[in-house]
């Protein structure tokens, strides 16, 4: 039951993009086509889950016992950067088809604040390892959901006649705002 609540909360109530403001750059940047959006979303789910679990272990076994908690930021970002490199190499060598579809998104992920953000949230909420895994996968899925929905909306908007100054990023942001408003309704559900 608790895990179920955790998943629902991470996907809908506290959606990582629409309620927690994380990962907005790729959210606006890669939401022009739904194909791209799905690829980016999958890459985030995958990397965020791995990063959250590994950084959890780093914090638990390396930083906390040595009273190095203040180095959290630097340790986490280095772990994530190295992890992304490793995943890229691994996919390239071992699963070329997957690399073909996800590979181009991997470099973008190091600077995706959703990944680092999820890892830090797990620490601040003092999650256990299992909760960390569930939370990070669910948050990644929440990111993917928001991204794919926005991409489908924007694909249709391309065909609409809008003032030229509104085209592109401004309209994308306003659409994101309306989606965020819709997701805001889930807040009432939580209590």
């Amino acid at each position: 039951m608790d895990y179920f609540v955790l998943v629902i909360a991470a996907i809908f109530v506290n959606n990582i993009v629409l309620a927690q403001y994380l990962g907005n750059c790729p959210f606006i940047g890669t939401s022009k086509e739904s194909g791209v959006a799905i690829g980016m979303g999958l890459a985030v789910v995958f990397v965020a889950a791995m990063a959250a679990v590994i950084t959890w272990c780093v914090q638990k076994f390396l930083l906390a016992p040595n009273d190095l908690g203040y180095l959290q930021t630097i340790a986490f970002i280095l772990v994530i950067a190295a992890l992304v490199q490793f995943v890229e190499l691994f996919l390239k060598k071992v699963i070329p088809p997957l690399y073909k579809s996800l590979g181009i998104f991997l470099p973008l992920i190091t600077t995706n604040c959703a990944v680092l953000g999820i890892a830090i949230i797990c620490q601040r909420e003092e999650f256990t390892l299992l909760e960390t895994l569930i939370f990070s996968v669910a948050s990644g899925l929440g990111f993917m959901l928001a991204l794919v929905v926005l991409a489908s909306i924007r694909e249709r908007l391309d065909l609409a006649r809008v003032p030229i100054s509104m085209k592109g990023t401004p309209l994308g942001l306003i659409m994101a705002g309306l989606m965020s408003l819709a997701f805001f309704a889930f807040k009432g559900m939580a209590s």
Binding site: Y70, L71, E125, E126
Partner: protein, 192 residues
């Protein structure tokens, strides 16, 4: 090969320098950070519990040895005379530990009141232990038999947030136990 060595050397040098700088900054700021955390996390709870004191409880804090480990005690004084003490204990909540600051008066075995310091609960439900209606039940409460009404006490649990209410009561009882072991040492510690 030469390039490889250069890469490793440069990277390790940069990392080493950054580690050194950070350790220095950390050393220089750690005392102030501790003070700030106490002022802004524990401080507000102290203000909820006590009124009319003229010292700075965070500045005057002292650590005491108790059977369960060291506890930081915040003294509350008026005109140089110790009128009460408070310290933090933890109880199990729904989503993690609840930190409860428990205040005692020195002029008799009574609770002065409680304040919530840390809380991770379902927003809207458990968060109500923070609200005055629940907290005020502990104001001037005797230190004997603090329990929820369903266990025969007189504290009304928050409907729908039994776990948080139970956790808070457990934390308060824990504090009472600690208070009883140290209360004789208190007047000497702050010289009144």
């Amino acid at each position: 090969m030469k390039e490889m060595i250069k890469m490793v050397v440069v990277l390790s040098l940069i990392c080493g320098l950054s580690g050194l700088t950070l350790a220095t900054v950390r050393q220089a700021t750690s005392a102030r950070i501790e003070e700030q955390v106490l002022t802004y996390v524990q401080g507000p709870a102290l203000e909820q519990i006590f009124t009319g004191y003229d010292n700075n409880p965070v500045k005057d804090r002292k650590a005491f040895d108790t059977p369960g480990g060291p506890v930081t005690i915040f003294p509350v004084m008026k005109a140089g005379k110790l009128t009460g003490v408070a310290f933090e204990t933890f109880g199990k909540g729904y989503g993690g530990d609840i930190g409860v600051m428990v205040g005692f008066t020195t002029d008799g075995d009574k609770l002065q009141g409680i304040g919530i310091t840390t809380l991770k609960e379902t927003p809207g439900l458990g968060a109500r232990v923070v609200e005055p209606d629940f907290r005020n039940q502990f104001r001037r409460h005797s230190t004997e038999t603090i329990a929820l009404s369903k266990s025969g006490g007189d504290i009304q649990a928050i409907s729908g947030a039994t776990i948080s209410s139970t956790g808070t009561v457990a934390a308060v009882n824990e504090a009472v136990k600690i208070f009883n072991t140290i209360k004789d040492k208190l007047p000497d510690a702050w010289g009144s």
